[in-house]
């Protein structure tokens, strides 16, 4: 009975259920005719958007707290917010780094869809790797700041 009252048990069970829900959803088969490279890019876009939104808003909720207690984390988020020059964005010449990486992948994907050749597929693969690297770094920081040492 005492074990059942341990909140850690329930938190662990809840975490396992959430993980189970994600893992059991698996990766579904592609529809006939769907380009795997495009679907892979869009999957990366979806995950990256959720990851970036989470970390940017987590830091923004209390910037003073993170700045004081986790300066390296806050510095990383500031690097994500740093504005970088962009092309082909309507009405803008720069975007925060994390949005620019997402926009670049989207543009590369649309260019590839318009003309599928070696150049556009290479550009799409490069943009995908670039966004994936930034997204992976962000996920690593999420793991660090949301867990006690």
């Amino acid at each position: 009975m005492k074990t059942l009252r341990n909140p850690l048990l329930w938190i662990t069970l809840a975490a396992l259920l959430v993980c189970g829900a994600i893992v059991n959803s698996g990766c579904v088969a592609l529809q006939p005719g769907a380009d795997p490279l495009v679907v892979r890019a869009e999957q990366a876009q979806t995950v990256a958007e959720g990851t970036f939104d989470f970390i940017i808003n987590l830091d923004h909720i209390d910037r003073g707290f993170w700045r004081t207690n986790a300066p390296a984390f806050h510095g990383f988020v500031e690097q994500l917010r740093f504005k970088v020059p962009v092309a082909n964005v309507p009405g803008r010449t720069n975007l925060p780094r994390y949005l620019a990486a997402q926009w670049q992948l989207d543009r590369a994907k649309l260019d590839y869809l318009a003309a599928r050749n070696a150049a556009t597929s290479n550009a799409l693969a490069a943009a995908l790797l670039s966004l994936q690297a930034l997204s992976d770094q962000t996920t690593a920081w999420l793991t660090i700041v949301t867990n006690r040492p």
Partner: protein, 75 residues
């Protein structure tokens, strides 16, 4: 008095927790959505994605410390 102080702290934390939980839920949902994707996005989803990206660029969370009046913490 201590109970009042605790209640005040809890009340102050509620908006922070609810806001954080909302983004955590969106993050988990995005992973699930990506895992379940079987085809390419329709045109309206593509347009909505681009509109969301551009809208976020002007939102306060995307602004740097310096842009919202806090001394920059970048080296």
């Amino acid at each position: 008095m201590q109970a009042v102080a605790i209640a005040k702290v809890v009340l102050a934390l509620i908006p922070l927790v609810s806001s954080g939980a909302e983004h955590l839920f969106a993050f988990v949902t995005s992973i699930r959505t990506a895992a379940l994707q079987s085809g390419t996005w329709p045109a309206d989803a593509e347009a909505a994605y681009q509109a969301r990206l551009l809208a976020k660029a002007d939102a306060p969370p995307a602004q740097s410390d310096a842009a919202i009046g806090i001394p920059s913490s970048l080296p």
